[in-house]
């Protein structure tokens, strides 16, 4: 169930919120658990048991680690078993086909590929659940003895299937004690509406441009069309993903939770390293805490630094999908970040800020080509189109049409990816009047909600020229 569906907005959400608000504090976590399992089962009626298996593994690993508190070796053994099982489940369902296909291609074997469909959100909830056992082993959190609370943490529906990757340590206190207030709920609604609007108004509409361009023939694609297409995707993925994160954070607040932020105006970054500190922040910090730092972090020799960085970025790429282009995409950023660490960063800082920004933005945009194209040949031919080496025209009638009919949308997308609107809000609040700033915000939220509802409701509007009988 996605948040921008009728079933969620007009079915699941009102029912769950109603029950949640009227029930006593003691059973609230039980409601979170049940609603989370139902939410997941709605999208994955079978794979819900895979998720429950992951939860049981980590719950019991936690209990056992607590029981053998004085036995370091046993604790380590328990951690290893839990990590292996978590990653094992992830590998079977997410990377199974990829591994089998590559092994078959490499060794000429004919291992049967069951082609299991990917369980929704498995990469997110596995990482969330793993953060619990690893942190418990490190003694940075305490054991969760209640199975309801632990299951509730993993299945907490706002963050279950598309992030942010909320670590157990982020919400350890909140699971037992959290504030549910009118003010916080209203804040949550506001953030949720922004997210909904990002997804439905910006991401879906600009995404339609990329859908159109993506399936054209790159050999004859004019330069302008290629740029319009990949910029459209650049905004689509940002608003899709950050919109979903905003909805999750907003829904979290409605339930009384404070989740970590996941995006911080990534397209304002002035270096690739900065981009990754602003994009999908909870994933970056997960890899930092659980992979990069355990490997030695920054405090190692240059050779090890190269090794560690490439390992982390290869894994980051692979986390996004079981395909070589994601590995390539990850390594591409790994290499860029290494170069920035080694010398490029210092060099960049001497340049004008706009050049720094352009450098980072273009490299990120080129990264999206690697992200979106699954084959090397289409990556090559799309870059060919971007730089006009395919010999096609600079633009044609369709490029002009795409440009003119979407220029406004591009401007809005660009504007919303900056922090200008926030600065305007702060300016009005501090220099004019608080009520004025709040009224502006309320007006915007109401308009965005109304327009978003229009898009949700019309999802099935589909007129037929002739009555089908």
């Amino acid at each position: 169930m996605v948040f921008s569906s009728m079933t969620f907005l007009f079915g699941f959400l009102p029912i769950v919120l109603l029950i949640y608000y009227i029930s006593p504090k003691k059973v609230k976590n039980l409601i979170i658990m049940i609603s989370g399992i139902l939410f997941y089962a709605w999208g994955e009626p079978l794979y819900v048991f895979v998720m429950l298996l992951t939860i049981l593994v980590d719950y019991f690993a936690g209990l056992l680690m607590d029981r053998f508190d004085a036995f370091p070796k046993r604790r380590l053994a328990i951690l290893i078993v839990s990590v292996v099982l978590n990653l094992g489940i992830l590998c079977v369902f997410k990377y199974g086909s990829f591994l089998i296909q590559n092994i078959n291609a490499l060794l000429g074997t004919e291992i049967f590929d069951p082609q299991l469909p990917l369980p929704i959100g498995i990469s997110f909830y596995t990482f969330q659940a793993m953060s619990y056992t690893i942190d418990l082993y490190r003694r940075s959190i305490r054991v969760q003895k209640s199975i309801i609370n632990f299951t509730g943490y993993v299945t907490l529906f706002p963050q279950l299937i598309a992030g942010p990757i909320v670590r157990y340590s982020d919400v350890e206190e909140q699971i037992n004690e959290r504030e549910i207030s009118m003010s916080k709920t209203a804040d949550g609604i506001s953030i949720f509406i922004r997210g909904l609007a990002k997804k439905l108004i910006l991401a879906n509409n600009i995404g339609a441009v990329w859908t159109l361009v993506k399936c054209m023939d790159y050999q004859t694609l004019p330069v302008l069309t290629a740029w319009i297409g990949i910029l459209a995707f650049t905004f689509q993925i940002y608003y899709d993903f950050s919109g979903y994160s905003d909805m999750a954070i907003g829904l979290g607040k409605m339930l009384g939770f404070d989740f970590p932020a996941n995006f911080n105006h990534p397209y304002l970054s002035k270096s690739v390293s900065e981009f990754w500190r602003r994009w999908h922040m909870t994933l970056g910090s997960w890899f930092l805490s659980y992979v990069y730092i355990p490997l030695g972090g920054n405090r190692v020799g240059k050779l090890k630094l190269v090794r560690n960085t490439l390992i982390v970025w290869m894994l980051t790429g692979l986390w996004h999908g079981a395909s070589w282009n994601f590995v390539l995409w990850g390594l591409y950023f790994g290499v860029l970040i290494l170069l920035e660490k080694l010398f490029l960063g210092k060099l960049l800082q001497k340049l004008p800020r706009v050049v720094q920004w352009l450098y980072a933005f273009l490299l990120v945009v080129f990264g999206w080509v690697l992200f979106e194209m699954t084959s090397l040949s289409s990556i090559g031919s799309f870059f060919g189109a971007l730089f006009g080496v395919n010999g096609a025209a600079l633009f044609d009638r369709q490029s002009i049409y795409l440009f003119l009919s979407n220029i406004l949308l591009f401007i809005v997308c660009a504007f919303c990816s900056t922090n200008v609107s926030r600065r305007i809000y702060h300016f009005v609040r501090d220099k004019w009047a608080i009520w004025c700033a709040n009224a502006m915000r309320l007006g915007l939220d109401v308009v965005l909600f109304a327009v978003s509802i229009c898009y949700v409701v019309t999802s099935t509007y589909n007129p037929f020229l002739y009555f089908n009988f």
Binding site: F10, R397, Y455, F464, N468
Partner: protein
């Protein structure tokens, strides 16, 4: 804090009231605006849950039956129009009309259609005189008034090169006559069909190929039967009710020759005394005043006892052409291959009875229509 209270109240009012009111209001089963049956309530069973059809159906069911659905859809169009969008639901919004965008055709479909027609003409060579008429749509006639250099595919070249692949058939140039009268009311502004006047112009071009002497325009009594027709393009774009169309019916001033119209729908037949189904003017899809909803076979008999019989393979553009062709034939059989699922003999049609065959399509449907291959089984 006041603004927070307002937001809270509004949000909860919307997410609670919409579903509750939608549940209370009885379900519609048919959407006139979309010309389709709406989703019925999903069935709950272990099977529908496991294959997720229950979940998908619930989503569709809720979206199909939400209260104020048509109004919200119109509001969305208004928003997009205000935001500068000029293509809504595959329809270009021009300054004075809506124009359907036709996708660049699939070459294989076109080649299949040519093969089917050539095979037909070859098979009945010397017995049936075959004529093909492809009518360009408004997108080509009005290509210069499309919004913002909108892309379109060149139907005139398409028609010419298609005609070049045909053998043993007469072809009709509809483009020339329509283009010459482009400043007149030849296409509906909110529907993808040509107007009766557009069809009349087509008839004057067609008459030469069929060896008919076309009746002049002043030989017809023109009756305005509607001026509030919002057609299929309106349904797609959902804007500009002010473009509402008028519908004109043409009857021959010397007396209507049509004596009987029989519609065959599967095993059912319905007999009428006129080409015009005036009761359909009450509904939304008013173009069905011409011959009614598309049926696999319609037979028209006239009191002109000249023994001439014509068989027409067609899409709905032909429906409004019948008001003119009926002046010249004793019988016209109108066959819509898209809806034909049994051989023509099941409808008591023997092709050997007909001296002339006409293929009458608009480019929009023709390029997308795979039913021409059914000809071989006729």
């Amino acid at each position: 804090m006041a603004s927070k209270r307002i937001l809270l109240a509004l949000f909860f009012a919307v997410i609670f009231l919409f579903p509750i009111v939608s549940l209370i209001v009885p379900d519609e089963t048919f959407s006139e605006l979309e010309n389709r049956t709406l989703k019925s309530a999903p069935t709950l069973s272990a099977e529908t849950i496991l294959d997720k059809s229950f979940m998908d159906d619930t989503e569709t069911y809720m979206a199909d039956h939400i209260v104020l659905r048509d109004e919200i859809a119109k509001a969305k169009s208004a928003i997009e129009l205000a935001a500068g969008k000029r293509e809504l639901g595959g329809v270009y919004v021009c300054s004075d009309k809506l124009v359907e965008h036709i996708d660049t055709p699939d070459k294989t479909v076109t080649a299949q259609n040519a093969d089917a027609i050539n095979a037909f003409a070859e098979k009945y060579k010397g017995k049936i005189d075959t004529t093909v008429m492809l009518v360009p749509t408004a997108e080509t006639i009005y290509s210069s008034s499309l919004p913002m250099s909108a892309p379109y595919f060149d139907q005139t070249t398409y028609i010419k090169s298609f005609y070049d692949t045909l053998q043993n058939v007469n072809t009709v140039d509809a483009y020339a006559v329509l283009s010459a009268h482009q400043n007149e009311y030849i296409y509906y502004r909110t529907d993808h069909h040509w107007t009766s006047y557009g069809a009349y112009l087509g008839y004057t071009a067609l008459a030469k190929s069929l060896n008919l002497k076309a009746a002049t325009h002043d030989m017809f009594n023109i009756e305005h039967v509607a001026n509030d027709f919002l057609g299929t393009l309106y349904s797609k774009a959902l804007c500009h009710e002010d473009f509402a169309d008028a519908i004109d019916l043409y009857t021959y001033s010397q007396g209507d020759p049509v004596s009987e119209v029989v519609r065959y729908m599967g095993k059912n037949t319905q007999t009428y005394s006129s080409l015009f189904f005036r009761e359909n003017l009450e509904g939304k899809d008013k173009y069905t005043v011409f011959l009614g909803q598309n049926a696999p076979v319609v037979k028209i008999n006239t009191n002109i006892k000249n023994g001439k019989k014509l068989i027409v393979f067609k899409d709905s553009y032909a429906n409004s052409m019948m008001q003119f062709l009926t002046l010249h034939y004793e019988e016209i059989a109108v066959v819509d291959l898209r809806y034909l699922n049994v051989p023509l003999s099941e409808y008591q049609i023997d092709l050997n009875d007909y001296q002339q065959a006409l293929f009458l399509y608009n480019v929009g449907t023709f390029t997308d229509d795979q039913s021409m291959r059914k000809l071989a089984g006729c």
